[in-house]
Amino acid sequence: MKAKFVRKLVVMTACAVMSLTLFTACGDDADSNQGGSSSNGGQSGEKTPAATQGAETPSDGGYTFTYKGTTISMKEDMETVKAALGEPASYFESESCAFQGMDKVFTYGSVVITTYPDGDKDYVYSIELKDDTVETPEKICIGSAKSAVSDAYGAPSSETDTAYVYTKGSCNLTFIFADDAVTGITYVAKTE
């Protein structure tokens, strides 16, 4: 009886060890696992509740703008921007027709941020750089040469006679030119 019990113990310990090694073995490369499952899940991955870690940066790899050390990306919650930059120098709001929310415009120095409402929150819709005191993270500002833009950003996703548009993630970054010099820089969220 006693011997039997001991053997039982051995089996159970073996089981536990086996499973533990497995857990630790895969714990090491958890990151790659996540990639594996999400790329596979394509058709229904959205449905099953998967934990998204680091949810605070919704950046989908689109262009971002950095102002006074704060990186702002399109469709970011305006509250987080306000928390970092403080109250804007000037603020404008307009009720949209039939109360479908408020379009808001926040001005910080030479940067103008507009938002769009969704539910109870406001999300960054556009960022405009008004003068040459601010520049994009890629060192382009109002007054830069057209060639400097293409040097920094490469070939535009689309272009008109007076503008280059670069599309990345959910952001359209637009440079407007007059006489081969940048006169306008805007980041605009892509609306689907």
Partner: protein, 358 residues
């Protein structure tokens, strides 16, 4: 036994359909207070009298032109088939729809909506389309307007769209299952309160100022439809300055009007001539006119219409005048009530944002 079973099935089926119908009427938003913009499109069908002038377009028509004032001053019978953020194709199909009932002499279209070339917002779509009676125009309108997330069947059976409102039903939903009150004055949305215009943010520079192909295509269809029916199409840009109307857009609309032999008037530079004082004549800081402003605008625009088009002064027509008498009474009554609330509370209580049922 078998027969009894079939009868039971039939009875249950009929009851189920009836029940679903009543539930559907119950959950569909009534747009009676607060957000009344959703009632505008369907109210048109309740107006028995003919209209010589029909406005189509977004809030820049239904908040800026007092139909009653145009009647009072010139005997013009007009109706505004406006709705919140009405897109160009929605205006076009509303025009098609209107032509099923009457052929006005003049159709007025506000051009701000040309800036949108894509379906925008489900809520606005519903407010513009749900009120339409079923016709080919409505079907085409739905198809042209749906955003990616919407589906046609939701328009056919609004229960599928609004069922989730079961938990937020208000008193109005029960009260107005089968009948609704008028909320506009021939399509005009009245607001007598004042909030002076401030400074608007400078407009965002655009990469591309070309008005969209779909929008301009529908404008062309609109012009063609009017020509076919012997209707004079008038293009206007209301005198309010925000959202910004870019000069580049203005040039394109001008060119379009010229090409099609239409009148196009941009009223922004004419504010002074109209007599508008944007520190007094707007209720939402310059986006839309209040009734004082809308009456000035109506007077100015009515005179222009009178001078340029062959419109009848229906004030001499007893039958029509009788109908309009009621409209005037309703208008004055509401105005009185709004002023009353304004004086008493300093703001409107049973209109606008404060009246939205929670």
């Amino acid at each position: 036994m078998r027969k009894k079973r079939i009868i039971s099935a039939a009875v249950v089926a009929v009851l189920t359909v009836a029940c679903l119908y009543v539930l559907q009427r119950l959950v569909v938003p009534k747009y009676q207070r607060g957000i009344v913009e959703g009632s505008m499109v369907e109210e048109y069908y309740r107006d028995e009298s003919p209209h010589e002038v029909v406005f189509i377009g977004d809030c820049e028509v239904y908040e800026n032109f007092s139909t009653i004032e145009m009647w009072r001053n010139y005997g013009i019978t007009s109706y505004i088939r406006g709705s919140a953020q009405q897109l160009v194709w929605q205006s076009y199909y509303l025009l098609e729809d209107t032509l099923r009932y009457e052929t006005p002499k003049v159709v007025v279209f506000n051009v701000l909506a040309l800036k949108y070339n894509e379906p925008q917002n489900e809520a606005y779509n519903r407010m513009s389309i749900d009120g339409m009676k079923w016709s080919e125009a409505k079907i085409d309108n739905i198809k042209a307007s749906m955003t990616k997330e919407e589906s046609f069947i939701d328009y056919v059976f609004p229960l599928l769209r609004y069922h989730s409102r079961w938990s937020e039903l208000t008193e109005d939903d029960f009260k107005h299952i089968f009948s609704k009150d008028l909320v506009t004055h021939n399509g005009y949305y009245m607001r007598v309160d004042t909030k002076p215009q401030g400074e608007f943010p400078s407009p965002l520079p655009l990469a591309d100022y070309t008005l969209g192909e779909k929008a301009m295509g529908y404008l062309q269809k609109m012009a063609d439809l009017c020509k076919e029916n012997g209707i004079e199409l008038v293009l206007i840009k209301a005198p309010t300055e925000y959202p910004h109307w870019y000069d580049e857009w203005d040039v394109q609309v001008k060119a379009f009007a010229e090409k099609n032999g239409l009148n196009y008037i941009n009223y922004i530079p004419l504010q002074e001539e109209i007599g508008l004082d944007m520190s007094k004549d707007t209720y939402d800081a310059g986006l839309h006119l209040n009734t004082q402003g809308a009456e000035k605008m109506a007077d100015y625009f009515g005179r222009w219409l009178k001078d340029n088009y062959d419109l009848t002064d229906y004030r001499e027509d007893e039958k029509i005048a009788g109908i309009w008498k009621e409209k005037i009474d309703f208008y004055d009554e509401m105005k009185e009530q709004q002023f009353y609330e304004l004086n008493k509370y300093g703001e409107l209580k049973s209109f606008g944002a404060n009246a939205i049922e929670k």
